[in-house]
């Protein structure tokens, strides 16, 4: 049986990709406002927790972890991980158009490779089919005239 994903599950994978990259970018933007944190000034980390960019970034990363765990509950790790790597591509675009960073040719090439890698797994089955450890129980005979699969 080939496991393919429903549109709702593709949306969860999209949430995995976007929430991690947006969360990281928000944290980076917030920490740039807070300033460098050294061992002598660890208290600045508490100040950072009051920064709205940092708070939004943390919420995004919590959303990432929830959607990542949800994806792992119905898809293989080797299917989900390349999808999460697509977040690097999103980060590169956010860095270019929001933070106005320069993207070198090497980085564009890296982005192209990641897109290809995600493409390799995107059309394949999402979950490995394992042989059941216990033989299936004998099915109970269905009464004549009964609707299979429940009441309708």
């Amino acid at each position: 049986m080939k496991h393919t994903l429903t549109p709702q599950r593709y949306l969860i994978l999209l949430a995995v990709m976007l929430s991690a990259s947006v969360g990281d970018t928000l944290l980076s933007h917030g920490m740039a406002q807070v300033g460098p944190v050294t061992l002598a000034h660890l208290g600045l980390l508490l100040v950072a927790l009051r920064n709205p960019w940092i708070i939004t970034g943390i919420l995004c990363l919590l959303g990432f972890f929830a959607s990542y765990l949800t994806a792992l509950s119905w898809a293989d790790l080797t299917f989900v991980l390349p999808s999460t790597a697509f977040g690097y591509v999103v980060v590169a675009f956010l860095a270019k158009y929001w933070q106005h960073e320069t993207i070198t040719v090497y980085r564009w090439l890296g982005i192209l490779l990641i897109v290809c890698g995600v493409g390799f797994v995107a059309n394949g089955p999402s979950l490995t089919e394992h042989e059941p450890q216990h033989p299936p129980e004998e099915s109970t005979p269905v009464a004549e005239g009964a609707t299979p699969g429940g009441t309708q």
Binding site: D76, L77, V80, L81, G110, L112, L113, G124, H130
Partner: protein, 134 residues
Amino acid sequence: MIYTGHIYAGPIETWATILSVAATAVAGDVLTAGAMRRIGDLDRIRANSGLGGAVRAVTSSPIFLLGVLSMAASFFSLLFTLSNVELSLAAPASASLTFLGNAFAAKIFLKENVNRRRWMAALFVCAGVFLLTK
């Protein structure tokens, strides 16, 4: 000691710390994925028992907690590595090794069907992550 831009680690220490980051990250990913496989489809659990039930199902799994512990160890290993090794080497090397290590570990421990398509994906992503830091 305040970081002044100097790199103190030799090649053995450099690669030992990078490997420790990748190994703990792989352990975290595989344990978390194994726990989620045992727990089952979270969408279905949430539909039956609500969000609280899904959270309880996840957080009461010892394998999941072990996975989170490994992820935390990986984070602190990365912090330690970054204090001794240049970011431009530590970040792509640990990320690339983690991708490859996950493919091997998923095949061995999770019995996933890592076919040629998935190996190619791991290698492409690995090379792509490396190029992103250039």
